[in-house]
Each structure stands twice: as C-alpha cells, then as structure tokens.
C-alpha cells in the first residue's frame, strides 16, 4: 500500500485580527525544523520539472537538498548563483504559477513549498552572513548603464557586475528598489530587506545613483555618447491609469501608485513622525482586483479604515491577484464586491462622498473563451465611500520614449524588445521588465534582466567592446 504523501508544512502567519492593525510581515517564516521537514518532501527528481518553471533557472532540488542536509551556506550559495533577490522572490513570486505548478508532488499531494524554502534560505543568509560583511568588489570592465533600480535593473546590474563590467544604475526616486520599495507594502516585503538586497548588488560592484531621471537629468543618447557601451532600460510601467469616469478629480480619489507610494516609500503610515500624509477615512473602495488592488485594500485597513471593499467588474475566477493575497485580504476583512462596475464618483465640497456602480453579469463567451461581463441595465446603486483607490492598470511613462530617437515603441508606449535577447531597435540599447511587457511580476522582470545581461555581455565581448572602451569620460 503506497504511503500517503504528507501535505506541505504551513507557513506561520500573524492572525488576521492582529495583523490588520500593524505593518509587520504577515508571513513570519519557517523555523529550521519546518524547513527541514518541508525539504524532506522533495523527491529530488532526476529530471526536475520545477526548474523549467523558474524564470531565472534556480537549481531548485539543489538548494532544497542542502536544507535537508543542514548545509545552509551551500543552500544559500546555490540560490545566489541564479537569484540576485532571493529574500524578495521568496516572498512575492507567484510560485504557484511557476515552479510549484510543475512539481510532481502536486499530482498526489501538495507541491513542495519551494517559495517558502527559498525565503527560509534567504532569511538565514541575511541573519548569518549579513551583506555588511561582504567584500566590496570593484570591476574595471566596460561601462554599462541601467535605467531603473527595480527588479529587472538590479538583476542586470548584478549579473554584469559579476562578469566584471562597471555598471551604473540610474534611479529617478530617492531610494532604490522600484516597485519593491514603492509598490509592495511593508507587511509583504519589509523595506529593510529590500535595502539589503540592493546593498548586495552594490557590493558586487554596481554603482546605484538615486535622484537621476533618465530622460531629464540625462538622456539615453547622452549615456551612449558619454562612454557607456550599452544601456539597459528597465524603467517600469509607472504611469497611473484612471478609469475616466466623472468625479475622479475629487479629493479622496487616488491612483494606487500614489496611495502605495505615500504608504510604502514615504512611510506615511508613520505620520506625523514621517511627514508625508495619507488619508483613508472610514470607508474605502479599491477599484481593481490585481495584486496592487489587494495591497491597496490591505494597506487601507491598516491605516484605520473600517470598511474596505474591492470593486471589480468581473468575477472571482478572473481576478488577477495571487490567490494567497486574495485569501489574506479576505481573512483581514476586505470585502469583495465582484461583478460591480463603478460608473461615477460623487462628491461634495470637493470631497468624495459616494460611488455609483452598475451590477454586471457574465454574458457570452468572448474571443479568449472567457464570459464577458455585461452591465445589468437599471441595476445602478450608490456605494457611500470616503476614499477611492484606482488600481486598474498602469502604462508606460513617455519621458524616455520622447527623448530617445530610434527607440521603437508599440502603440501603447511600451518599448519593443526581442524576447530572446532584450535588444531594442536602437543600437546599444536593451530593454526589459514592465516597460516592455506592461505590468507583470518581479520574477519575470528579473528573467528579462538576466536575458539582457547575457546578450549585452555577448555584444560587448565581441567587436563592440574595444570601440566602447575608447569613449571613456
């Protein structure tokens, strides 16, 4: 009789009632015992299916075996070989759609909790081998410029620095990290951790310059003319989109980018100790149902809102957010108002008072095989709210496009880049991450960063390199 395969070890979490009032991490991480027990579940497949699901090709069974054997330094080395931001990925990657989805254990039982194990190793490393003890490398190879210090840019910078290139990362904001620092909340990804992950990239030898806006302070053509042999554009998809319904100009309506940037980057949750204010009122409606919407809703709760609703025009199965984040939000009391479409925001004395919505129902199948939401005529109803957060989509900031001739973009403003190499239509310029794909995930951005780093290396180590070297400034 085959032995029953044990399910995965649960991730310890703060209880919902407690955690919705603080900004500390919700998931508190495996203990050593839990990690070893979970690592034992891995079958160490000869032909591991999971690796193919990892955008940065981590040797998954490799690092898991080391956890099982109690050899954490080696586990950490294997993880670091392919992942520059392991503490981040272990927390925010949708492993359930990637490596874990392919795990053979998933057929009879639950897949190995690869993400939780990755986090465990990364956290062990942070505590036992702090980055402050890491030696400072000083590469002396050709110069490469990276635009944007989000996951894509940091990965490219790390990979190229390891190969000996002198990389400079230009970041428009005053702190590096991109979405890791402005978009993802403290309770999912502590900023102290992001800071250490960024410091690791610095120690590899990459220079990170904040407060430099490429497209304004200096342009991409100027970088190329100024001695950089290659430029990687990873500026993200930061332009906020509004719904375009009447009333979005009222006070109390904010884009998710604004709301989250106030809370995460500017630490408005610590107002007035931190000077940037943020306001939620009692009743908050978040329009949208992606991870950003969940983050906004859960942040609003923690800021003191009594009622927080997700308002989404489609149904549950279409919600783009990670199931785990939806579950976390619901456990904390966020209400899901699905098949609901806001059509107007009402206000008084310049402030939001309510949102008029239409109820939707699922109608005919559309081209993608999904049932299209259709408005139910006359189903209008009024939702009283104090704050509306618009978390529907983001677009491409036009600054770089407008100041870089010959850089072809698609009709929505995203840079056109070859999927296999990251090359754009402009010689010497690569691009990757959200500025190419539109809003996607941290790990996909990292994958694009890795792809571009490889190609930049190929390009610069061939005929291009000696030419680039003569333009030193």
């Amino acid at each position: 009789m085959p032995k029953e395969v044990p399910g995965r070890i649960d991730m310890p979490r703060q209880e919902p009632e407690a955690r919705k009032h603080n900004f500390r991490e919700v998931a508190t991480g495996y203990t050593r015992e839990m990690a070893v027990a979970e690592a034992r579940r891995c079958l160490q497949c000869k032909k591991p299916a999971c690796v193919a699901g990892c955008p940065v090709e981590i040797d998954i069974p490799g690092f898991i075996k080391q956890i099982k054997d109690g050899n954490l330094p080696e586990a950490s080395r294997i993880l670091r070989e392919k992942n520059s931001l392991p503490a981040t990925c272990g927390r925010v990657c949708p492993q359930e759609d990637q490596c874990e989805k392919l795990c053979v254990l998933g057929r009879k039982s639950e897949p190995v909790a690869i993400g939780r194990l990755e986090r465990y190793v990364a956290d062990w490393e942070r505590q036992n081998r702090p980055v402050s003890k890491m030696p400072q490398h000083t590469p002396s190879g050709p110069r490469v410029a990276v635009v944007g210090s989000g996951p894509a840019g940091l990965t490219t910078a790390g990979d190229l620095a390891k190969l000996g290139y002198r990389v400079t990362v230009f970041e428009a904001l005053h702190k590096p990290g991109g979405v890791l620092v402005y978009g993802i909340p403290e309770f999912r990804l502590p900023k102290a951790i992001v800071q250490e992950e960024v410091e690791y990239i610095r120690r590899l030898g990459a220079e990170i310059r904040t407060n430099v806006i490429i497209g304004r302070t200096v342009t991409v053509p100027e970088l190329l003319a100024g001695g950089y042999g290659a430029v990687f554009i990873s500026s993200g998809a930061g332009l906020p989109k509004f719904k375009g319904i009447p009333g979005e100009q009222f006070n109390g309506v904010a884009s998710a980018n604004e709301f989250l940037t106030r809370s995460n980057l500017m630490r408005a949750y610590d107002f007035p100790a931190y000077h940037t204010p943020i306001r939620v009122g009692e009743r908050v409606a978040v329009i949208g149902a992606g991870n950003v919407a969940m983050d906004s809703a859960r942040t609003a709760l923690r800021l003191g809102a009594k009622e927080v609703s997700i308002v989404y025009r489609r149904s549950r199965v279409e919600m783009p957010a990670r199931v785990e984040e939806i579950e976390n939000a619901e456990a904390e009391g966020v209400r899901m108002r699905l098949l609901t479409d806001p059509i107007r925001i009402n206000g008084e004395d310049g402030w939001v008072t309510s949102m008029e919505c239409l109820r939707m129902e699922l109608g005919e199948l559309d081209d993608s095989g999904r049932r299209r939401p259709v408005a139910i005529g006359g189903s209008n109803f009024e939702m009283p709210v104090d704050t509306v957060i618009v978390a529907i989509a983001t677009g491409a900031n036009p600054l770089i496009r407008r100041t870089t001739p010959d850089l072809e973009c698609n009709e929505r403003g995203y840079i056109i880049a070859d999927e296999k190499t990251g090359r754009t239509t402009k010689e010497g310029v690569w691009a990757g991450g959200d500025i190419v794909t539109g809003s996607a995930t941290v790990i996909l951005a990292m994958g694009a960063g890795r792809t571009a780093a490889k190609d930049i290396h190929d390009y610069l180590s061939s005929a291009g390199a000696s030419a680039a070297d003569t333009h030193h400034t």
Binding site: A172, T210, V218, P240, E258, D270, Y274, P277, G350
Partner: protein
C-alpha cells in the same frame, strides 16, 4: 552632494539657496523645477528653478517657509547638503522671440518668473515684469527682476513698496494703456493666477501659468498632481507645469490644494513647534 554654496534670506520667511548641482544646472531650462527632500522622514516637494549657472554648475531655488518641509529647508545653512535633489523636471517654458511678454510674479512666484523673464529677454523679446507681494517685507529680487526684463513694475497690497494694489490691477493698467502684449506669463499663488487669467481673457491675450498642485514623485508615476485643463486630465509634472491659463480649472486646483490642510497643520505643530521649544 547638493551642497548649499550660498544661503540668504531675501524676504520674510523667504530664503534663497544657491546649490552645487552641476548635472541639473547643465540641463535646466526656464520653467522647470526640482524635487527635493531635506530630512530622512521628509516629504518630497517641488521648487521652481529660479536661476541656473551652467558654467558654475549651480541652481538657485527660493523657498517660502509655510509648513514642515519648507521650514526644515529654511533651517539649513551654508555648507549644508540637501539630502535629495532631483531634476530638472517638467516641460521647459516655451520661449521665443516676441514683441512684448509680460511676466507676472506674485509672492514667492517672483523667483519662478525670474528664469522665464530672463529667458524671453535672451531670446530677443521685449519683457515687462510685474512683481507683487503683500508688503515690502515679502518682496525680493527687485534688482534682479529689473535686469531680467527691460521694464519693471512693482506693487504691494499695502503700498509699502512700489505702487499700491494687486498685480492684476497693474496688468489691467498695462492693457488699458493700449500697448501690444503678445503673451502674459504668470506664477504665484493659485488665486492670483486665476485672477490674471480673468483679466486677460476678454482681450484674448495668450496667458500661460505655471501650476503648483501637490506633488509626490514629480516624475509622472502617481497622478497626484493631476489638474483639469480644457476639460481633460493632465499631470502637472509631465504635461506641465505650464498650461494655458484660460483652459485651467482653477477652482478644482484650489480645492485639491487644500486636501491635506489638516495633516499639514498637524505636522507643522508636531515638528516646527516642538523644535522651537528645543531652541530655548
């Protein structure tokens, strides 16, 4: 980085800073602004580039201490560094050779209008500057503004310097005198810009204003600075800060500017009064 090379008080609660910022100075054009922070817990806030020297690698900003951030900035001295300084941001003012440009600066807006007046004059335009403040103690740069253009009109609400009255009255008089005006460029408190637009509208005189909504990032990623111009939504940081005054919804801007009034008061009480008690 961002060392203050010269700091001086130019008027009541109004300080000027010449900052070592070669990259920004190299690229700065009239009408653009910088975003700065002066404390680790501090806000990001914008200030118009009042002047720049590409050779010396410096930019000049002028700030009126009204809340926490500007008060903390005001406390910095020669040799101190500005924690974070980024720019130049915003679209540069469209400058061309025109017959007559009237540059109107109200209060601390005088600093903002300075670079524009200078730019138009350098382009060969005739420039008349009208600068105004509530009283003489709040006025500054009369000499610089006199040099920036070829004609200067000074006015104060209480008549303590120059003529008595508002900048709008001086502008009306200029229009009434029959002189040809090709463009009016105005910067100052939002209500002032709204009134300037009202003055010029009946005559169809093209009027550009530099809007000052609340900003968070200044690079186009948050939408906090959105304004309504010609019925459309625009972001002041990337579509502006200059806009056609006759298309701007000023009342909406005024409403949005007061969104955080309570929080601003609270922060000021918390940080400015607390610190003052330490100085005793």
């Amino acid at each position: 980085m961002n060392k203050i090379l010269n700091k001086e008080m130019v008027a009541d609660a109004t300080s000027l800073f010449v900052v070592d910022a070669p990259e920004i100075a190299r690229k700065a054009r009239p009408g653009q602004f910088v975003i700065l922070r002066v404390a680790e817990e501090g806000e990001r806030f914008p200030l118009t580039i009042a002047d720049f020297d590409r050779q010396a690698g410096t930019v000049t900003i002028v700030s009126l201490a009204v809340g926490v951030s500007t008060t903390l900035l005001d406390r910095l001295k020669n040799g101190d560094e500005i924690l974070d300084l980024a720019g130049p941001l915003g679209n540069p003012t469209h400058i061309e050779k025109l017959g007559r440009v009237v540059c109107v600066g109200g209060g601390v807006g005088i600093a903002a209008v300075h670079a524009v007046a200078k730019g138009f004059k350098e382009a060969g335009s005739g420039v008349t500057s009208i600068i105004g403040a509530r009283s003489e103690s709040k006025l500054f740069w009369q000499d610089k503004m006199a040099r920036a253009g070829d004609e200067l009109i000074v006015t104060t609400d209480d008549g303590s310097a120059g003529q008595k009255g508002f900048v709008t009255q001086r502008l009306q008089e200029l229009i009434d005198s029959g002189r040809n005006i090709d463009l009016v460029f105005a910067v100052g408190p939002t209500i002032m810009m709204k009134m300037v637009a009202k003055v010029t509208e009946p005559y169809g005189i093209k009027t550009i204003v530099s809007l000052n909504p609340v900003m968070l990032d200044g690079t186009g990623m948050c939408g906090g600075c959105r304004v309504e111009v010609g019925g459309e939504q625009k972001f002041a940081c990337v579509d502006g800060p200059d806009f056609d005054a006759h298309e701007v919804n000023f009342d909406l801007l005024l409403s949005r500017l007061s969104a955080y009034k309570n929080e601003e008061q609270r922060a000021t009480q918390c940080h400015c009064e607390f610190d003052r008690s330490e100085e005793k």
